[in-house]
Symmetry: C2
Subunit: 289 residues, 2 copies
């Protein structure tokens, strides 16, 4: 028993034939592996809502803008598979790069201005490649529902828009970020942090919390909120470098000139040679995160 | 009885629920209406291979690079529907522009270098919009097979590549061009030609035939073949203007430096204010078209 490991597209489709014939609801959790409790939350949600659950594990080389990041990205298929077993996943789809890209794709998903800010600004081509591989996974698995973490807020917004714009028959489910007791958002990249870096890494969430409190308290000026938030990043810590902290519309990911409703406050912080991202959804008058 | 006319996406999906539940093969014939015998060939092919046949009729404004062309494009839904009835179509999907584009799309299909030549060179953004609307129709209808005419060779090559690159679970069927007795390829735009223009329009096919004969006879030099082909367009006819005539690889739509295998010879000819396209598949040693 347990989760079947499938490496080819043809086998995956074969495995799902029976589920599809019996009109079972199919849930997909797309991942890059190195699964943690945040992924478990996605799997649990899928398990709860769907009759068949597939987890894809694919470190998509096209979405890495830095060779170094691709090389360092953690890979541990055996542990991932055991975790999938434990949480009742039916199918683990772990294709090779050659299986996913027998030739370099000519047709890709252009995500328009949704990639103009936040991570998109600093990682050229990243979201084009994310949207393209997600579209491929949707075509391969044909899920009824797909589960994405809110930690990757820009990715989630892009996938939601992709599905709406192209009438993709998949329901997108966003799942709240899972955090360590001190608030650090879970991420496969956290394993790359040394002990001192791990301590320092919390600064990003602290900055987001500061912004959230300020917005909840009625501050409508994004520049002012940002100034206060950035002050939470210790300036004397040489291993920390803030890449961005922006306050954007939660739908179209564009910076807002004035905060009058819900906004996404998102940031990217370099901790040594590891890049971490996080975000919170804030609104005037809302109880703080 | 007859073909049901459906204008909303929700109704279309509802209509197809039963077919899908019973695992019927669903065929889609995407069109812009003004149906002619070329479309009938597509419908017949779909009728022959599928249990349920849907014809979409949507004049996609985004793929028109000239306002004038969009305005003049023939529209005759009543006749189209009767024709669909006559040829056993189950569903005619004729959505409004608002139904297809409630907001301008942010996510679109970038078709890469497949649009660098032929029509793509002269109609900026055209194939991006074609690929995007076809992807939308695939998401809406979820067909098992979709039928496209070979007359639009670049479009067909792009759709084939799109489906391969994004693992779209739709089988693409290319259907040979239907021609008038004198060889003119059927096109909805032919109705825009005056009697004298209709006579002159055959020059495009004559040019393609000349190229085809030359290639079949062993000429491997695209420039030379092109020179001979272009000579078939009467230079003294002021209503004719050749936009392009190119010899390309049938898969990636790139010009070939030497003709060593099958090639697509494609051209666009302006006849008065109407733009016509046509193409033939040629190969060294192949019997002429």
């Amino acid at each position: 028993m347990g989760a079947a490991l499938v490496e080819s597209i043809a086998h995956l489709r074969q495995h799902l034939t029976e589920a599809r014939r019996s009109n079972a609801t199919i849930g997909l959790v797309p991942t890059m592996g190195a699964l943690h409790a945040g992924h478990v939350r996605l799997i649990e949600e899928a398990r709860h809502e769907c009759q068949a659950v597939a987890v894809s594990i694919f470190v998509n080389p096209l979405q890495f803008d830095r060779e170094e990041d691709l090389r360092r990205y953690p890979r541990r298929l055996d542990e991932d598979r055991q975790l999938c077993d434990r949480f009742g996943v039916d199918l683990v789809f772990a294709p090779s790069v050659e299986e996913m890209y027998p030739v370099p794709p000519e047709c890709t998903i252009d995500v328009g201005r949704l990639a103009d800010h936040l991570c998109g600004k600093y990682r050229p081509g990243h979201f084009r490649s994310v949207a393209t591989v997600v579209m491929k996974l949707f075509g391969i698995v044909r899920p009824d529902r797909a589960y994405f973490g809110e930690k990757d807020a820009q990715q989630l917004a892009i996938i939601r828009r992709l599905v709406a714009d192209l009438n993709v028959p998949v329901q997108i489910v966003g799942v709240p970020t899972v955090r360590e007791p001190d608030g650090l958002a879970l991420s496969s990249r956290n394993t790359q942090l040394g002990p001192a870096e791990r301590q320092s890494a919390i600064a990003l969430f602290r900055a987001l919390q500061a912004a959230d409190r300020q917005i909840a308290g009625g501050d409508t000026d994004p520049a002012h909120v940002k100034r206060l938030a950035v002050a939470e990043i210790p300036p004397d810590n040489p291993s920390l470098r803030l890449e961005y902290l922006e306050i954007v519309d939660p739908g179209n990911m564009q910076p807002v000139p004035v905060i009058t409703g819900p906004v996404r406050v998102a940031g990217a912080l370099w901790v040594g040679s590891t890049r971490l991202i996080d975000n919170v959804l804030s609104a005037p008058g809302k109880r703080s995160a």
